[in-house]
């Protein structure tokens, strides 16, 4: 499955995304993440900053669901992705490290986030959810 071009600006809009993972024992885990990184048409990267439940889950069960928020166009992008491998050096890692520091600084959380690795995921499906804004 390939990522469409119009998803790229949403990945860079600095609005947090939602991530759902699931343990090998079948317990889902819902978390809010600062960013999903575009790697290429078939891959995205997520930051591995702490050895948290998401990281543990993806080593037990590689399937993850991510929801990106586009407030400007009243759209969500739902991605089903699959953990592939981790990179702790190289261009993807360096770029993510810089972006994380920029987001941390902008949200008053500088020094809290430290990138351990860039976790690379293969994209299995992409769904664009467009809806009418609720007005009242």
């Amino acid at each position: 499955m390939e990522l469409p071009d119009d998803i790229k600006p949403v990945m860079q809009n600095e609005i947090p995304a939602i991530l759902i993972s699931c343990s090998g024992a079948g317990i889902p885990n819902t978390t809010i993440i600062s960013q999903v990184y575009y790697v290429d048409r078939e891959h995205v990267a997520l930051s591995f900053q702490f050895f948290n439940k998401t990281v543990r889950n993806t080593r037990e069960n590689p399937y993850v669901c991510v929801c990106l928020n586009d407030l400007e166009n009243f759209t969500n992008w739902v991605l089903h992705i699959q953990y592939d491998h981790s990179e702790s050096e190289g261009s993807i890692f360096d770029e993510m490290d810089m972006q994380i520091e920029a987001i941390a600084s902008a949200t008053g959380m500088s020094g809290i986030f430290k990138l351990k690795a860039a976790d690379i995921y293969r994209v299995n499906s992409v769904e664009k959810v467009v809806y009418d804004p609720v007005t009242s």
Binding site: I18, I20, G26, P28, N29, T30, V66, C67, L71, I112
Partner: protein
């Protein structure tokens, strides 16, 4: 039972929430949450879920009953995750719509103060409820970003 401090957070401070389920094949699914409230037993949380995010919801809950709700206050980043077992579902009623409007109001105010969107546009981003699902909370975790994220508060984790 949900502690008083977290009850107050849910009822007065939290601005955004999302739910997660998993299929019988362990594939996770996201469900946006438009409103949330705690029942009188202080253990059951009801979540309003928009129609557009009900894909695989009821089939997953019928299969295994597992639901994970994360609720955050935008700005302070204070976040908690509630995990538990599915109790039931129903169409939204008047009380759910009041809760939805209250949550939407808070979301609009807070998001417009942090992002370049008007309050009206931010409010309009919260989708109408399509179904209400309830689950009984088994565990509560702190998820505020930082080294303690993931620490279980209820039942207390041994240090």
């Amino acid at each position: 039972m949900i502690p008083g401090k977290i009850m107050k957070f849910l009822e007065e401070d939290a601005t955004v929430a999302a739910g997660g389920t998993r299929s019988k094949h362990l594939i996770p699914h996201i469900h946006r949450v438009s409103g949330w409230s705690v029942g009188p037993d202080r253990q059951t949380i009801s979540c309003s879920i928009p129609e557009e995010f009900t894909h695989d919801l009821l089939s997953s809950l019928a299969d295994n009953g597992q639901f994970a709700l994360t609720v955050e206050q935008i700005g302070t980043h204070e976040t908690y995750q509630f995990k538990g077992e599915y109790v039931g579902s129903r169409p939204p009623d008047e009380a759910d719509l009041v809760v939805f409007e209250r949550c939407r109001e808070r979301f609009g105010k807070v998001v417009s103060s942090f992002y370049p969107y008007s309050e009206e546009q931010s409010r309009a981003y919260v989708m109408n409820p399509g179904i209400v699902i309830s689950f009984k909370v088994r565990e509560i975790f702190i998820q505020t970003p930082g080294p303690r994220a993931g620490h279980r508060l209820v039942p207390p984790e041994e240090e």
